[in-house]
Symmetry: C2
Subunit: 567 residues, 2 copies
């Protein structure tokens, strides 16, 4: 055996199962405490598993005695027993961390104490309807009513929309220990998987999460239409939050990105998390590999957490029919980049997490295109209207900017080429002289968007592409436009003769076709699909000239010129 240390896990659901997938590859034995046929045990044949509940103290003790490290796949465990065994066996993350995090109100208080931004919350335990009313007046409506403990996948949460709903909310959450949270008016939800090792804190990339009925439905890696600066801020915030806790392992950090770009922590999970499933295919090390390595002090090179390819993860939930989830996998069989994971669970109750699908592709736009039919299918299965579907837009790879709309007619042929070769683009008007600040802002942020190439068209002094090139690291193509004087020479020279340091790839005067084709070649340098479309297009041109040559040969020059109306 590669590593004779034994790992014990409280809980044998899908997270434990995927942890075991990772452990199997390193020949590390994982002992699971859960029911006999639990998903994790199905893929791990040995006699070290324990049958019972991960909430049962005596079973936890038994597990601890047979292992070198004990970890969890769920936080709703008996932390008092973990505290008791912590002297004899390593418990990762620490029972203290588990105890703080499993109580969501305590979790938020702890984060606040450690200077981490969280949504404002207020204790309502024992305060009944009157307490809710007071909070409603202070926070305004809607606000979130949440159970402090045993709440997940929307269970234990209630959105109180008006004062009239208070009684219903109290009734719905019964005798649970409650607290209220101020409504976060977010633009989107982000999540970061954090890895805490003996040496420090590492992060996976930031992802966007989309919830439906309070259950994670989709994750997008990277998030859509979010700047690199914001994704980095999210990683920093997640790092700060997890740095405040004791112990080793991965942590899921869910947060809100508010409309003013503020980030607030929503919730923390002290274990692998749904928002990190995409890492199995999309990163060199998955969240499960990372968790295992972290708790066993096996090194994790930070760049092993990079994104290999953009990825989208779609949860497969139990649907309206017992086999709805199976229908989704059948549909996914036809999807070339879809990795399917089923968890070996029993009955598919509506909303139960039965599996997930990850699509990775060279671009997020490609992944979206492939995932959309699956999302539509899931929505159909649920009986949802298709109107509510996620918008899919091709993220532009090329920006075509011009100093004035008078340049647009010159650009027409080039834009048609981009369309023909299926390169998503955006066209903007920005002048180096009339809107210098706008141009600067656009150019400085371009590299953080989906853009890979910029075409700048300008006439006369034609500073547009040169200034743009000075503010970006992306390749900039200059298209000299013939202006009033000098037959276009002014524009041509203003672009080619850029100083050493900021090149502009200049093409012929008014030749927007070549500007577009150059953008296509630049994309095709690494995107073989684009390159292939270009090759086919060039082959078509070659054939057309060969055809004309044959016609000229067949007809003679006189007849040919007559055909051209030039005789």
């Amino acid at each position: 055996m590669a590593d004779s240390r034994k790992v014990g896990v409280l809980g044998g659901g899908q997270l434990g199962r995927m942890l075991i997938e990772a452990a199997n590859r390193l020949n590390i034995q994982v002992n699971v405490l859960d029911a006999a046929a639990s998903p994790a045990k199905q893929i791990s044949a040995h006699d070290g598993h324990i049958e019972g509940s991960f909430k049962d103290a005596s079973a936890v003790k038994k597990l601890a005695q047979a292992c070198d490290v004990v970890t969890v796949e769920i936080e709703h465990v008996d932390t008092h027993m973990l505290e008791e065994v912590a002297g004899e066996v390593a418990v990762e993350p620490s029972w203290k961390t588990l105890r703080t995090i499993k109580d969501k109100y305590a979790q938020k208080g702890y984060l606040k104490e450690h200077g981490v931004d969280v949504a404002e919350s207020e204790d309502l335990e024992g305060k009944g309807a009157a307490g809710l009313k007071a909070v409603g007046e202070r926070f305004g409506y809607p606000f979130m009513l949440k159970s402090k403990t045993d709440a997940y996948d929307g269970r234990g949460n209630y959105v109180v929309k008006t004062a009239d709903e208070i009684d219903a909310a109290v009734k719905a959450l019964g005798d649970r220990p409650l607290y209220a949270e101020r409504w976060a008016d977010f633009r989107m939800e982000l999540a970061v998987m954090v890895v805490k090792t003996k040496d420090g804190v590492l992060t996976f990339p930031t992802v966007e999460t989309v919830h439906e009925d309070s259950i994670c439905k989709l994750t997008y890696a990277p998030p859509r239409n979010v700047s690199k600066a914001t994704t980095e801020r999210a990683q920093e915030l997640a790092k700060k939050a997890i740095g405040a806790f004791e112990g080793k392992g991965v942590f899921g950090v869910e947060m809100f990105l508010l409309k003013d770009d503020t980030l607030l922590i929503n919730e923390i999970a002290p274990r692998p998390h749904n928002s990190g499933h995409y890492t199995i295919e999309a990163c060199p090390l998955s969240q499960y590999d990372a968790h295992l390595r972290a708790i066993l002090d096996i090194p994790i090179p930070p760049s092993a957490l990079r994104l290999r390819e953009p990825a989208i993860m779609l949860n497969i939930l139990g649907g309206k029919n017992p086999d709805s989830h199976i229908q989704v996998t059948h549909k996914a069989y036809a999807s070339p980049n879809a990795s399917i994971h089923l968890y070996g669970k029993g009955d598919a109750r509506p909303g139960r997490k039965m599996g997930h699908i990850t699509v990775t592709a060279p671009s997020l736009a490609d992944a979206e295109k492939e995932m959309q039919p699956l999302i539509d299918f899931v929505d159909e299965q649920k009986g949802k209207s298709l109107g509510a579907r996620t918008a899919t837009t091709d993220e532009p790879l090329v920006a075509v900017i011009m100093g004035s709309d008078s340049d647009l007619p010159v650009l027409k042929a080039g834009l048609q080429i981009l369309e023909k070769l299926q390169v998503p683009f955006t066209v903007r008007i920005t002048s180096a002289h009339r809107t210098p600040d706008w141009l600067r802002e656009f150019s400085k942020s371009a590299a953080d968007t989906s853009l890979r190439v910029i075409i700048g068209a300008a006439g006369g002094a034609a500073h547009l592409p040169g200034m743009c090139a000075s503010w970006t690291t992306l390749p900039v193509i200059g298209l000299p436009v013939k202006a009033t004087h000098m037959d276009g020479w002014d524009s041509l020279v203003s672009m080619t003769q850029m100083p050493r340091g900021e090149p502009v790839a200049t093409v012929g005067i008014n030749n927007s076709t070549n500007a577009a084709l150059l953008a296509v070649r630049i994309l095709g340098a690494t995107d073989l699909a684009v390159r292939e479309r270009l090759r086919v297009w060039m082959e078509g041109n070659e054939k057309e000239v060969l055809r004309k040559d044959q016609e000229l040969l067949d007809q003679g020059f006189e007849k040919y010129l007559k055909g051209m109306g030039k005789w």
Copy 2:
């Protein structure tokens, strides 16, 4: 359960284990016939497995009775029992195929009959030393002596180097049924995993395989320094070969690429194969996913077999010490892109396949850089001299071509920039007018190499970049060189004014710095590491100008000009 069909596998080694990894994710039950603690059974906990030998007819029958489809992870099985049960259970691939392939001499005869190119071979069964001598005279030395059956990983093979070795060879291979094969003087070995479904034949990408002591040591996907045309020919040959056999599933096709670019089939395996391990990380569907889908008639979209990222696979073999293989995995822990697979085997006998490591990276050069220390370490563990290590060269991403060596001084500054920003490049002399054929050949094949951008420097009529652009789909940067007349205007216009269809990205006259920086930007459009190096470099320039500005402010223009020696 997602799919209630049960799959039976003869053999529970690493191939069966990785097949079960794939089956687990689809919740498909796989029953394994092999010894109790075999690698495949370790990750599949249910009571459907059968204990026994896959060569034992009665055990095969028992397995068949409990399954819907029976397949193999090894071809050395009892095909007569499979023939017998084939009426009651699906056997994939067909027992006929297994019977033909398990006898290597019959396999080659069958391929030859079906018009597939294989190395010339001759039956030696019962002919003894005299037979070998006759073959040696006909084939010349060296030639390969092989056992028709039960030969793998070099066992059952003997290279007969001279007539003097004939007795030793006969003795080494004992009473086995022998045949001889003409020596293939190959440039390298290639392999293709082929998938035969109910609807047709699909292929994974072509890979290069490197053997050591007749055991597969490394695979490179894609192969190093092989044109796209050749890799496609290899896929076609593999497709043709497997098209000749009956049944469904994946097949490994090993072939020789001879020095004259001829391809010859070496051997076929009717099952997942060592040369296809890389597909687990490098392709959307692995060879194991594909095998399972093929034998169960689950759809396989052809593009699911694409290469996500270049990949290198290194086998982990038992070494000189019992834990040599574990040392390799420890070393690999530090490698950010290494996926480690251990097979759960018992003792590590020297040469026994204990696991493998796959490194994927954005380029094969990156993967080589990361894998080399692991190869060196493996060689050290074996006690091999480091001199024999695989050569690693940075494959060039940029080609700088010029019409004449007189252009080289102008290029100097640009080449220094490429060096500084760590972009691997190659510099060549090729003239559009003096070596038009050479230029054509270079340009036409450029896209099939590691190249992503071409810089063409030329003066006067300056046709070089324009002609190059006409023969390639790669982006071409034109660097106008100032020639004898017209101050460089001739070159500048000859490049910018290319006809619609073949753009040349023209930079300023003699400004090789900008040509190089443009190439860097083009690479940086998709390679974030390159982009980051460029950003840091640009920031340095910015700081330098700001520093000078401050100095001018501090000193006044008079002192400053004096410092420049211009007062």
